[in-house]
Amino acid sequence: MMAENAIIAALLVPLLGALGIALAGRVSANLRETITMLTAFSLVAIVWSILPAIFAGERPGIRILEVVPGIDIAFQIEPLGMMFAALASALWVVNSIYSIGYMRGNKESNQTRFYVFFAIALSAAIGIAFAANLFTLFLFYELLTLSTYPLVAHKGDEKSVRSARVYLGVLLTTSICLLLPAIIWTYMIAGTGDFTVGGILDGKLAGPAVGLLLGLFVFGIGKAAMMPVHRWLPAAMVAPTPVSALLHAVAVVKAGVFSITKIIIYIFGVDFLFAEPSSGWLLYAAAFTVIMASVVALRQQNLKRLLAYSTIAQLSYVIMASAILKPLAEIGAAIHIVAHGFGKITLFFAAGAIYTASKKTEIWQLRGIGRRMPWTMGAFTIGALSMIGVPPTGGFVSKWYILAGAFEADNYVAITTIIVSTVLNAAYFLPIIYMAWFAPEDQSSSSKPHGEAPFMAVLALTITAALTLGFFFFNGPVLELEQQIMQGVSP
């Protein structure tokens, strides 16, 4: 019963927090930020309190109400969702610390609106993580899209409104045109949309239709940013950096790949898909996105856009890993959600810190910046190494598992893609690191001498950099959690 209450609390606490923030915003900024931090801490306490039950093998669930006969709003926690919720809630704490530093440092307007919608977005992310069926997932998926729209359009100038239009356009189009029909189709043939161990479609669907349904799901979940539905992610980079960091490196995009992984495991069933040749295209499409996005990233001049394309590539890593359809690779996919989350949020924090301290946004401006901002660039270096997959960083662990899974399946497409993309990752991250630390500072362009970013921002990025390193050594609990997913799947 405790875990059931915790589910409700985890959904309501951010919403109540949003209400509190909205009210406090009229009184004082300090009160508002205090409430944000309190909400973030309460959420993480609630979510993490459910962990022991999941480790013990329990699957707490709760039905809220029946919307239409057979279709209800219901929640159930399984290991994958638990991991996603734990990740998102924990990083929200760090991100809130960072937001305070960033938003104040840049004197952003409409800060109350920013914190309110941030909290609503977190509630939506938790809803996605704990959803027990496709309908509930879809409900919170759309809520996440809508609640992040004001965050992307935050600045309110012509450019951000236009980018926000792309953001909303792509995400709504894909979800309404592809995901919704896929969900209705699933309900029609299977009679249910509940996430079930082993899948619900076995025997209900066969032949090319399986590949088609998979395609509707994969491209319908635009948040996973698989090419060609990736355009919204670079567009979303106009948002303030904390939004890019938590939402567009962790909560929103991971909600996408998480949903795809969850659908592959609990709707299709890994064994069912493995036996069905028409689903094979997914691996190639994901591999294509990994390589193409990395190539595009090579050509970027703007730091945040580079990180956005790097994210697109890394998201497809996860999809490719789940498409290998081998237990080791599925575990790798799940771990990569966490490892990439730590690494990428660090990189975005660093990019935002650089912007706050010096207003620099382009890569060529970063020459010699390591000496001015050693903490920031140190964290950036750790994050970048994790993206490449160099030990001792978290990125190495997930890459190891994905490669092991690929070898187990004798899948040379996946192996080649991983190798090539590692080279490409190195090719776009290492020059930046080199420039920042070793190149002499360009005297003409840096008119304004600057030091480190505000303390709160530096604190946050140091924490996430430490997490990136720490994940290399302490990944046991996550592994244990994810191995539970594979129970009931033949090796």
Partner: protein, 496 residues
């Protein structure tokens, strides 16, 4: 006989009798109060009828106790109950919240007449719904049409006059066509009672006059219901009418005509005419698709908000006819459900426009700049209702869209195409709603005026209430769904 059995008659009698009395109430506040009280009473009767129907009661009422083929009968089933609820509900809420809006648009001396016409419109609409014979439907249709011409032209906007003239011409053609149709049927069968008609048509040796009658009735009612491409009267009529009249009309007027169209076809023609179900489907389905796509596209480029929503209504009528044109239980359920859900969404949208109109100089898109900050509650209601119109999950609009897509997908390959039409038009709805939201929330007012306040509290409360109803019925759709399912069973059951 207990009072319960008289409810279906009282539903019409109450507004019809109060209407002439209200003309005598010269103080405008009093006229408003009397009209609101009457409308609320009608709403209460409608709720009682709907609950009764939900419990399996069948309300068949014989006026003056004359038995069916000879006397006038009234009947209320699940399908009628939905229409009664939305008509009386829209009227009551618009009156409750709209006093100050009407005060600004209709001069005090004419207000008793205005409220009287309002109640006549209400009486006409509910009369159409409860009447069980074709001729009384015609009579009530004329009452409601004449009253609505008066109401639309009742505002200060002179452009309403040409709009209403167009409506009058087209509405009269529609009513005449309908009358020709029932004339033909009367000639062949000698009856006007619809249930009786359905039985006697079988005995008619030459069916071609009946087929011609079906054509006249369908076209005539399609004109009244603004089925594309017969919708030309609607956008201007809605745009230039007083705001509260638009709220009332948009929520229910066209749907009542559609109700008669569907009822006539499924009860009278389809059981009797060979292959008529196919004719019905082939006629309405292309028109529905065109309505959905063309009217949504038109709305995307419309700068006047009232006309934008009016075009959106034409598209939404397309959804309702699309569901009916499937001639399946699932399709009809979706249609009936969408009649209910769309009136919630469109009602809330036009109510929030009425709120905006109280404070802003015009209802053109650019005038809304900064409204998100100046009138946060109004715009919140607009956004919620807009999401329902788009069909975002968690709102009423999603429920009907879900049922509609499920219904079309069970039609096989054709269904996939239809599902595409539905999702594409949902996106178009997202575009035209979002244009408004963008301007209201992210553009600064042109002259930087900060004098704009929130709308009057009673109007705001009603608007918020209807907007929240969109969420409520999006999460708990049992009540409208059970009515719609019953209605669909009834219709499809008699058609076979």
């Amino acid at each position: 006989m207990s009072i319960v059995q008289h409810l279906s008659a009282l539903q019409v009698v109450v507004p019809l009798l109060s209407a002439p009395l209200i003309v005598l109430l010269r103080p405008p506040g009093l006229a408003w109060a009397a009209a609101t009280a009457t409308s609320l009473m009608a709403f209460a009767i409608a709720i009682a009828l709907a609950l009764g129907v939900g419990n399996g009661n069948n309300f068949l009422y014989e006026m003056g106790s004359w038995p069916a083929p000879y006397g006038i009968t009234l009947s209320v089933d699940s399908f009628s109950a939905i229409l009664l609820l939305i008509s009386t509900g829209a009227s009551s809420l618009a009156l409750l919240g709209g006093k100050r809006s009407i005060d600004t648009q209709v001069e005090a001396s004419r207000q008793p007449l205005f409220y009287s016409a309002w109640l006549l419109l209400l009486a006409g609409l509910v009369g159409i719904v409860v009447a069980a014979d074709a001729f009384n439907i015609f009579v009530f249709m004329e009452i409601s049409s004449l009253a609505s011409y008066v109401l639309i032209a009742g505002g200060p906007d002179r452009r309403a006059l040409p709009a209403v003239f167009k409506y009058l011409i087209m509405g009269t053609i529609g009513a005449t066509f309908y009358l020709i149709g029932i004339g033909l049927i009367y000639m062949m069968t000698g009856t006007l009672n619809m249930a009786d008609m359905a039985l006697r048509i079988q005995d008619v040796s030459d069916q071609s006059p009946i087929l011609v009658a079906a054509g006249f009735i369908t076209i005539g009612l399609a004109l009244k219901a603004a089925v594309f491409p017969l919708h030309l009267w609607l956008p201007n009529a809605y745009t230039h009418a007083p705001h509260m009249v638009t709220v009332f009309l948009a929520a229910c007027a066209t749907k009542v005509a559609l109700y008669v169209l569907i009822r006539f076809d499924f009860f009278v023609f389809q059981p009797n005419l060979v292959g008529h179900a196919l004719q019905f489907a082939y006629f309405l389905m292309p028109l529905a698709i065109l309505a959905i796509l063309v009217a949504s596209a038109r709305a995307m480029f419309e700068p006047n908000l009232k006309r934008l929503l009016a075009y959106s209504s034409v598209a939404q009528i397309g959804y309702i006819t699309l569901g009916a044109s499937l001639v399946s239980k699932a399709g009809l359920t979706a249609s009936a459900l969408h009649i209910f859900n769309h009136s919630l969404a469109k009602g809330a949208l036009f109510l929030s426009l009425a709120c905006l109109a109280m404070r802003l100089p015009s209802l053109r898109l650019e005038a809304l700049a900064g409204a998100g900050r100046a009138m946060p509650w109004t715009m919140a209601a607009f956004t919620l209702a807009g999401l329902s119109l788009i069909g975002v999950p968690g709102t009423a609009g999603f429920i009907s869209k879900w049922h509609l897509i499920t219904a079309v997908l069970s039609e096989g390959a054709l269904g996939v195409g239809l599902a595409m039409v539905i999702v594409i038009s949902s996106l178009m709805a997202a575009v035209y709603i979002w244009r408004v939201i963008e301007v209201a929330y992210f553009q600064l007012p042109l002259n930087g005026s900060t004098s704009v306040k929130e709308a009057p509290i009673e109007l705001l409360l009603v608007t918020g209430l209807v907007a929240l109803a969109n969420i409520y019925f999006g999460l708990s759709s049992d009540f409208p769904l059970s009515l719609s399912t019953d209605a669909a069973e009834l219709l499809i059951g008699s058609a076979q």
